[in-house]
């Protein structure tokens, strides 16, 4: 089948970008969306043009590297699917497809469809962990965890950090990302000692990065390839109240030493 693409091209972070139109011919429905872009890039290379830069790595929907807004929807038309797992059978011949990068101030474009998502790493560095230096752990079965909690924690932990939630949010908010980590650890006994500190630090960092606020539209969970639920956002909100208004204000804000 033949398809028309409008792809955002931008030389680097400083340059101005624009949409460029490409014809994608003889596309096989079994191809993945990224394989379709591979084919275009092979052609562009031989024609002496600069291939389209896009982020990808595992191509099996788990690393979270790929991210394209396809016809106005993060990761394209299929629910619970990353762009790399989207197949061309989801489109039909003659379709016009607009491909855009994630749009957010906190995710500046690096080149073409590639954005800089290091803001997510900094949110994790601010508190998205349980301090457990290697060698210090008790036996894995020392603390039983109710299966329901473990399952809910796993649901939250399924986040792949792709940033689709931010891309789809009207406010470019990173609440779903941040909340998934806060909720995961909040549900586990191991996460309790740092629970108050964690939510405060992570929210502070999230705000600093320039993400918008959450207005509970829920489009984030709709585009999330791993179906991370906005229930986690409610958990974050609850923890935030607890940590800032209820917890003893003398409790430390800092984290442990480097060891």
């Amino acid at each position: 089948m033949n398809i028309t693409l409008h792809v955002w091209r931008q030389k680097d972070a400083k340059s101005k970008g624009r949409f460029v139109k490409y014809e994608a011919n003889d596309i096989i429905p079994d191809m993945s969306f990224l394989e379709m872009l591979d084919v275009i890039n092979e052609r562009l290379t031989l024609e002496g043009e600069d291939p389209i830069a896009f982020d990808h790595d595992c191509r099996e929907g788990i690393c979270g590297t790929c991210g394209l807004v396809i016809n106005g929807r993060a990761h394209g038309p299929r629910a619970r699917t990353t762009a790399c797992q989207l197949h061309m059978r989801s489109f039909k011949g003659g379709d016009v497809i607009w491909i855009e990068p994630w749009r957010a101030k906190a995710f500046p474009v690096v080149k073409d469809l590639i954005v800089d998502r290091s803001a997510f790493d900094r949110i994790i560095a601010a508190g998205g962990f349980i301090s457990a230096p290697a060698g210090s752990a008790p036996d894995g079965n020392a603390i039983p965890i109710p299966k329901e909690n473990a399952d809910l924690a796993m649901d939250a932990a399924a986040c792949i950090g792709c940033g689709a939630c931010v891309a789809a949010c009207r406010n470019a908010s990173a609440m779903l990302f941040t909340a998934s980590k806060v909720a995961q650890f909040g549900l586990l006994p191991q996460g309790q000692p740092e629970r108050d500190v964690r939510v405060k630090r992570m929210v502070a960092q999230m705000d600093l990065e320039g993400f918008g606020n959450c207005t509970n539209h829920r489009d984030c969970q709709a585009v999330c390839p791993k179906s991370v639920s906005v229930d986690n956002i409610a958990r974050l909100n609850r923890d935030f109240i607890r940590s800032t208004l209820v917890a003893d204000r003398r409790a430390a804000v800092g984290v442990g030493s480097a060891g």
Partner: protein, 637 residues
């Protein structure tokens, strides 16, 4: 070249503890005077970087991805082994050790494997403490499942995303150290060469993949945790960016490359469906717990699977290996699949596929239980193949998945190049000629959390370091060499794309050095690959410039190295005149088609030493002795 594995003396149960005691310790306040470069941020790299930072060392960590969280450890699905014996089913450290040595077809080092089995129990504890949401039972205790090559249930898992969850645990520990300023993280950086000064690894040349700038980074030791080189096959379960460049550069600087031909072909992957395919997604081995593998008994039977009656199906694994059945080890299952397909009984459009059928399991357990266990895997399959595995059996076929070979390391995980440590899949150590399922995660984390933090201290504490600067002639020379190579790649401006070369190399590798090998095929490949490499350097087209984000340039650099690695793999396969584990030489097989080892001549590690451009590398040998797991014919019947 001298290969001293530095295995501590004494009984195997006490070697590691004894070694820890004998190692040099560094005063906690002095640790911060040392700097260490870690390349790679998967389980081994992130775990190692975080643990070493926790001890107080200054770490620089590099990865080519945009975030350390994306390292391809994330792709491991099924689980991680640990000898916890929580099931009360007879597991022990010794049994895990035994299974792993046997599973590796007696081509691994006993002392290393024992240590791995010993540390496996600590890993689970460590990960639970980090908040990894392992599957649990209603009583709140950790759940287990079975995996190939074992008769006990010792595999811990987090749904079908165990690798992801373990990696996030290590990544979060790493991010914590980044926040504390103990680790400086360099994402989107490609290591392009190793800097060796006075015979010691002292740094790397890295390319900032955003600005294109070449940087020199110096340290007291370099730890390579860059994973395997399986992408030499083009189609594999690896991440697209996974590459062998870092270890290949180290090899060229003097680190020996061990057993390069030991590559794991995973039996349960999604088959190739079209010519532009770029990836073979993995379907977790855990599916074989409940799925049954079969092909039609008749050749060329094109009926839809559900119309083939029971008596016309051949559940060949259950038939050939009755005691392990569908849970036979990976090398054996893959080869069996190839055999039935070669007989013309393969399924699917290409005839290169076998069925993995859940009909009986769904009948026995109900769809809900199956959904609970494998729901996300079924969904992945449905996404890709557009078929519902609840109704139609999955079609699977073997694909390259892991490289047991890698840089040779001693018991301390140091390569033959002093100061250059290699951990995780990048080294050769623990899996011999075949890796058992759920062991890669175990090895990566054992190396990272629990081995390297000790052994690197011993090296640092017993070595005197001269202060070096970026102006050092060796550092400058390494940078200049990288720069030359980049310029050369960009100036070829030929007529073929990089991917077309990579695809062709992959085809050669798959056909000549894949699931089964023979002398004529390998010799032919040793003609074809150098010719292809020559063409590459004359006719490849690498668009763009060097001082920008240039994915083509990154790719070209990697493919150029694959074109050399592939040759060494063939050479190694040619010179190992026996069959063992994943290395199946058709000339050496039993009457019933099983691998025939030659312990008299080949119970050793082949460590290849670079001899210079255009020269045949030197094959060094580290003999393997088996004191605790007596050499025996591996049988899963």
């Amino acid at each position: 070249m001298e290969l001293n594995a530095k295995i501590p003396s004494g009984p195997i149960e006490g070697k590691w503890e004894k070694h820890i005691f004998e190692m040099k310790l560094i005063n906690p306040t002095n640790k911060r005077k040392y700097s260490i470069i870690v390349v790679g941020s998967g389980l081994a790299g992130a775990g190692g970087a975080a643990s070493m930072a926790e001890l107080g060392y200054n770490i620089k960590c590099f990865c080519y991805q945009d975030s350390p969280r994306r390292a391809h450890s994330v792709g491991a699905q099924g689980g991680i082994n640990a000898a916890k014996n929580y099931r009360n089913d007879g597991d022990s450290v010794f049994r895990l050790f035994y299974d792993t040595v046997k599973g590796g077809d007696y081509r691994s080092r006993e002392a290393n494997v024992y240590r791995l089995a010993e540390l496996s129990v600590n890993i689970i504890d460590q990960c639970v403490a980090q908040g990894v949401p392992f599957a649990r039972e209603y009583g709140g205790l950790l759940d287990n499942r079975s995996f190939g090559g074992a008769l006990v249930s010792r595999t811990f898992y987090a749904r079908g995303q165990t690798g992801q969850q373990l990696l996030l645990g290590a990544y979060q520990a790493l991010e914590r150290q980044i926040g504390l300023g103990k680790v400086k993280m360099y994402p989107r950086h490609d290591m392009l060469d190793l800097i060796v000064i006075d015979g010691r690894a002292r740094g790397i040349v890295a390319r900032d993949m955003v600005s294109g700038e070449l940087e020199i980074h110096l340290a007291d030791a370099v730890v390579l945790a860059t994973g395997g080189y399986g992408n030499v096959f083009f189609l594999s379960t690896y991440a697209k960016g996974a590459n062998g460049t870092a270890i290949w550069r180290a090899y060229k600087q003097g680190a020996a490359f061990a057993d390069p031909c030991f590559t794991q072909i995973h039996p349960t992957c999604i088959p190739v469906t079209h010519e532009h395919q770029s990836k073979l997604p993995l379907m977790s081995e855990s599916l074989r717990n409940d799925g049954r593998i079969w092909v039609p008994k008749k050749k060329g039977d094109k009926r839809p699977p559900n119309e083939i009656p029971e008596e016309e199906r051949d559940y060949y694994l259950e038939r050939m290996y009755p005691s392990f059945g569908n849970l036979a080890p990976r090398d054996i299952s893959s080869r069996a699949a190839k055999r039935v397909c070669d007989e013309g009984r393969g399924v699917g459009k290409t005839g290169l596929g076998v069925y993995l059928d859940f009909r009986d399991a769904i009948e026995r357990l109900g769809p809900d239980v199956i959904n609970d266990r494998y729901g996300n895997l079924f969904e992945i399959y449905e996404r890709i193949e557009d078929e519902d595995p609840y109704k139609v059996p999955m079609r699977i076929f073997p694909a390259t998945h892991y490289t047991m070979g890698g840089l040779w390391v001693d018991y301390n995980l140091m390569s033959t190049l002093p100061g250059c440590f290699v951990i995780g899949e990048a080294n050769f150590s623990d899996h011999g000629a075949n890796r058992l399922g759920a062991s890669a995660l175990m090895q990566g984390l054992a190396d990272g959390y629990f081995v390297i933090p000790y052994t690197i201290g011993d090296y640092l504490g017993s070595t005197k370091f001269e202060k070096v600067s970026e102006d050092h002639p060796e550092a400058q020379a390494a940078k200049a060499a990288v720069e030359d190579r980049i310029k050369r790649l960009l100036s070829i401006n030929g007529k073929r794309t990089i991917m077309s070369f990579h695809r062709e190399l992959g085809r050669i590798m798959w056909e000549h050095c894949g699931m089964s090998r023979n002398r004529p095929q390998l010799e032919e490949a040793l003609q074809k690959i150098p010719a292809l490499r020559e063409e590459f350097w004359e006719n490849v087209r690498v668009p763009g410039a060097k001082e920008e984000l240039n994915q083509s340039l990154e790719y070209a650099n990697r493919v150029a190295d694959f074109l050399e690695i592939g040759e060494l793999m063939n050479l190694d396969a040619l010179e190992r005149e026996e069959s063992c584990g994943a290395h199946f030489r058709e000339e050496y097989q039993t009457e019933d088609g099983e691998a025939l080892r030659d312990d008299e001549n080949y119970a050793h590690v082949a460590a290849w030493e670079y001899a210079g451009e255009g020269k045949k590398p030197i094959r060094n040998v580290e003999p393997l002795t088996f004191e605790y797991v007596p050499l025996a014919r591996r049988s899963y019947k």
